[in-house]
């Protein structure tokens, strides 16, 4: 994937003359020492990351962690104190006033936490703002605005004022305003944090649907881990202005870099993050299609079970045979199971969210078979494994959680290159 935004060694110190504080920082003094000696706050400390073209990159942290500051450094609403920000190969720290305005007009669009709609403008007039300042003709900008308003579900509201809209609708306008600009990069500053939980979920879903279509590079700020995990292709975890971990949602949940993140992750609704692959057991026992009912009965007897999965030579799942069916087949003189019709149990793909398997497993008398893309059986899910994976962790350590996930010990990503330890 192409690199869209490369941030390296970004530092932001708040105050008028940060040179001295900057030097102290380079000398290895920490935040508190600098605050004590100079009175300056270190907002962002030596943060480096890369955002790929077309991904949703979530910057996650509590208030005061510097996440909004980093976002505002990306379009220089806040002037970084040191570091490089390279967007499409251009170091935006070098841009002069006019170049910076052009850059903001063409490359980035921003969505704000408190919507930030202009109260004296209608929905349509708000939506065209970005194009208006670029000097695009009225017809053209309104045509474009009508399209995006339609896309975010605001058709018919064009002439309303922001005061007439609910919070969710206001943020749709905010989103439409950003999309109308047709910039490559969307900067979303806690865009959904001010919304009711239900509306928030709805907006998250819509953002994901929209993203399928528009394929922007989205930098999304949030303090809500569930939101981060749901939206993020990758998540950067911040604490006190420094980066603690970068990884995919799964990497973060399964393999938190330190106790701080582990504590966060404990409260997460895992059914949305974990997939069938994470909770399945090894698909044993199983038998081959060419074998007969006697083999089936022997395997069942040996393992104390009442049904067994039947595979062909390439391990493609063919069906299930139960004790009753095997007995009947033996009576009928069947030699190979390929001669009879096998029962079919529930099947899911390995990337199915665990949440979706719960309903299936409750309904079904058989375990769920987990298959990969080629239809090969890779595992099975029984009730117990779902429940144990979703059970809240035992108090203090994260190790418990990992042992409760079958296969997780083989599954931990060995590539730690983009996991960065906090300082």
């Amino acid at each position: 994937m192409a690199e869209k935004i490369v941030v390296s060694e970004l530092i932001k110190i708040f105050g008028n003359h940060p040179q001295h504080a900057l030097k102290m920082l380079k000398d290895g003094k920490n935040k508190d020492e600098i605050l004590k000696e100079t009175g300056y706050t270190v907002g962002v400390h030596n943060v480096s990351f890369t955002i790929n073209d077309g991904e949703i990159f979530v910057i996650m942290g509590l208030s005061g962690s510097g996440k909004s500051t980093i976002l505002r450094c990306l379009n220089r609403l806040i002037e970084p104190s040191a570091g490089k920000i390279i967007i499409d190969g251009v170091n935006i720290m070098d841009l002069k006033d006019k170049e910076l305005r052009n850059f903001r007009q063409s490359k980035t669009a921003m969505v704000f936490q408190q919507f930030a709609l202009l109260p004296h403008r209608t929905v349509l007039e708000n939506t065209v703002y970005g194009l208006e300042v670029q000097g695009i003709s009225k017809d053209q900008r309104e045509k474009k605005a009508f399209q995006t308003l339609d896309a975010v579900g605001l058709k018919g509201y064009e002439n309303q004022y922001p005061s007439q809209l609910s919070g969710g609708m206001k943020q749709r306008v905010g989103l439409a305003r950003a999309l109308t600009n047709d910039a490559d990069i969307l900067l979303m500053d806690e865009a959904f944090s001010a919304l009711d939980p239900l509306i928030r979920e709805e907006m998250q879903d819509e953002l994901l649907t929209l993203q399928e279509k528009v394929r922007k590079t989205i930098v999304f700020i949030t303090h809500d881990l569930n939101e981060a995990l749901k939206l993020g292709d990758r998540i950067a975890f911040l604490k006190d202005g420094a980066l603690v971990q970068i990884g995919t949602p799964e990497e973060i949940v399964k393999n938190p870099a330190n106790d701080y993140i582990a504590k966060f992750v404990k409260g997460v609704d895992k059914s949305k993050i974990l997939t069938a692959e994470d909770v399945m057991k090894k698909p044993q026992p199983h038998m081959l299609l060419r074998d007969g009912p006697n083999v089936a009965l022997r395997i069942m007897k040996q393992n104390g079970i009442s049904s067994v999965y039947v595979l062909d030579k390439q391990k493609h799942l063919k069906g299930i045979i139960t004790v009753d069916a095997a007995l009947e087949a033996r009576k009928a003189g069947v030699i190979s199971l390929s001669e009879i019709e096998l029962e079919q149990g529930p099947i899911v793909r390995e990337d199915t969210p665990v949440l979706d398997t719960i309903g299936i497993i409750v309904e079904s008398k058989y375990p769920i078979a987990v298959v990969n893309e080629e239809g090969k059986l890779v595992g099975i899910i029984v009730r117990g494994s779902v429940l144990s994976a979703l059970a809240p962790d035992n108090s203090d350590d994260v190790e418990n959680e990992q042992t409760s996930l079958p296969l997780s010990d083989t599954d931990i990503p060995t590539d730690h290159s983009n996991n960065q330890e906090g300082v």
Binding site: R101, M110, F112, Q114, P119, H120, V133
Partner: protein
């Protein structure tokens, strides 16, 4: 003990200014005086009932029939008390003073709202303008402009301009940070930021500044009558000096009616902007 010769210096300064700019001032005063009288003359020509009708329509447009009805009754009373000509002369004075205050005050307010240094410079000057007893600058105004309406406008402008500046400044400063960020994030120029975001968002506050400026102008009318502004204030002054209590009331009530009409009109323009904004 040594006394700083402040009074002497100021006297000298005023005399110097009179000597240097005196002729220019006289010419200006004459021209401006003509303009004021011309404006007044036009209003005098228009039949009284047409003017009442115009006021009724304006008040109906901005507020509603109740204010409109009140305006008609109030103005009819003024006409009946035979104060119509004095009323018009005061109205002209207020309108001209207020327009000057707005034309000078709002740009200054914008500058002060956008520039902290300018804000720090202008603040004490505004304090001075508002608290200095008006007689202190009425007298030099007399020296420069002679007696009549011109020094009255001058004194009124000094007294009434500060709210226009202050509230414009306040309105600009109160524009929420995230709205400013919207402007910047979408790449607006400073000029676009001012015209498309700061001024429209600040407009309701600016309007209440204008409202206060008009009210202060009106309250200056009585004082200004002492230097020959005539109008309703002249009547009040005459009544006071001759102990004509009833006459004082008649003129006083006419001032109140004018004040209420102007206040309601500007206030409802301001509040209609506000409701649109929220």
């Amino acid at each position: 003990m040594y006394k700083i010769p402040m009074a002497e210096y100021i006297d000298k300064g005023v005399r110097w200014m009179e000597a240097t700019f005196g002729n220019g001032m006289d010419a200006f005063s004459e021209g401006f005086g003509k303009f004021i009288r011309g404006f007044e003359h036009i209003l005098q020509i228009i039949p009284w009932w047409v003017l009442i009708l115009i006021f009724a329509v304006i008040t109906f447009k901005v507020k509603g029939w109740k204010l409109s009805l009140g305006t008609i009754l109030g103005l009819l009373l003024i006409y009946n008390l035979q104060l119509w000509s004095a009323f018009l002369s005061s109205l002209v004075l207020v309108i001209i003073s207020a327009v000057i205050c707005i034309l000078i005050g709002i740009p200054l307010g914008i500058a002060s709202g956008r520039n902290n240094t300018f804000h720090r410079i202008i603040s004490p000057i505004l304090d001075l303008m508002q608290t200095l007893p008006s007689f202190v600058y009425l007298i030099p105004a007399l020296l420069f402009f002679g007696i009549g309406k011109v020094p009255a406008v001058f004194a009124t402008v000094i007294f009434a301009m500060p709210p226009a500046i202050r509230l414009t400044d306040l309105g600009i400063r109160q524009v929420p940070v995230d709205l400013m960020e919207v402007g910047q994030a979408f790449g607006s120029t400073p000029r676009q930021l001012l015209w498309k975001i700061q001024l429209p968002v600040a407009l309701p506050t600016v309007m209440s500044g204008i409202n206060q400026t008009i009210m202060l102008s009106l309250s200056m009318v009585v004082i200004a009558s002492m230097i020959g502004a005539s109008g309703l204030g002249g009547g009040v002054l005459e009544a006071i000096s001759q102990l004509k209590i009833g006459m004082g009331f008649e003129y006083g009530i006419a001032v109140v009616i004018l004040a209420i009409i102007l206040d309601r009109i500007t206030q409802s323009i301001g509040s209609s902007l506000r409701t649109e904004n929220k």
